[in-house]
């Protein structure tokens, strides 16, 4: 049973804890804005959120994750491991490379990086297990708690735009000029 009120919605995604983005999120977790465009529906979402980062337990920021608030009875490390296993193979590999955004001195080095990584259970040899361990050190679950959502419906003619925002525990909506 969720300890959160029914109006609280958590969106789950992931990030690499080594990136500047993760540091920015940790420094101002209540001031996160996310923009998603979903092309098959032609919808754009802009979400103003509070963000919660769940990194590897050895990471210094692990103690900042508010498990007490989000789910004191949840095995959060198990949730993080399950989230890693649920990723596509190519996406798992992205956590086993040098820091995203860091300078690439020799582009040839990129050819040595793994293109795919197995899940924990699928790791077949010591090398793969080491790579999975490395990826798991860098892999963080990112939970987003939206408090304002701006939806732009680009398939409609004329476009439709609606702002949703939380008031007194419920969601209120109003139409905006697109």
């Amino acid at each position: 049973m969720s300890p959160l009120s029914e109006s609280v919605i958590l969106l789950q995604t992931s990030t690499d804890i080594r990136t500047p983005k993760a540091g920015q999120i940790l420094s101002r977790p209540e001031s996160i804005e996310v923009a998603w465009w979903l092309p098959k529906s032609n919808l754009q979402f802009r979400l103003t959120c509070t963000a919660y980062l769940l990194p590897h337990p050895s990471h210094p920021s692990w103690t900042e994750f508010p498990a007490w608030k989000l789910g004191p009875n949840v095995e959060w490390e198990q949730e993080r491991l399950k989230a890693y296993d649920a990723l596509p193979r190519f996406l798992r590999a992205s956590f086993c490379r040098p820091v995203p955004g860091s300078k690439l001195e020799n582009p040839e080095d990129a050819k040595k990086w793994p293109n795919e990584l197995p899940s924990r259970a699928e790791a077949a040899n010591d090398k793969e297990k080491e790579q999975v361990d490395e990826a798991l050190k860098n892999f963080a679950v990112l939970l987003l708690e939206p408090r304002e959502v701006d939806v732009l419906e680009l398939a409609a003619v004329p476009y439709l735009r609606t702002k949703y925002f939380k008031v007194d525990g419920g969601w209120t909506e109003e139409s905006l000029v697109p």
Partner: protein, 38 residues
């Protein structure tokens, strides 16, 4: 005042759920699915 208040699942969440279902699950976007329910 044009704002309307509702309880339960907001419409944006339903729109997001439907839109995500249509997207390619293997696409290299950052969003994974399903939405967390803890």
């Amino acid at each position: 005042m044009s704002a309307t208040k509702s309880t339960g699942v907001p419409q944006w969440k339903e729109q997001l759920d439907v839109a995500l279902e249509k997207e390619d699950k293997g696409a290299a976007n950052a969003l994974e699915y399903p939405i967390a329910e803890y």
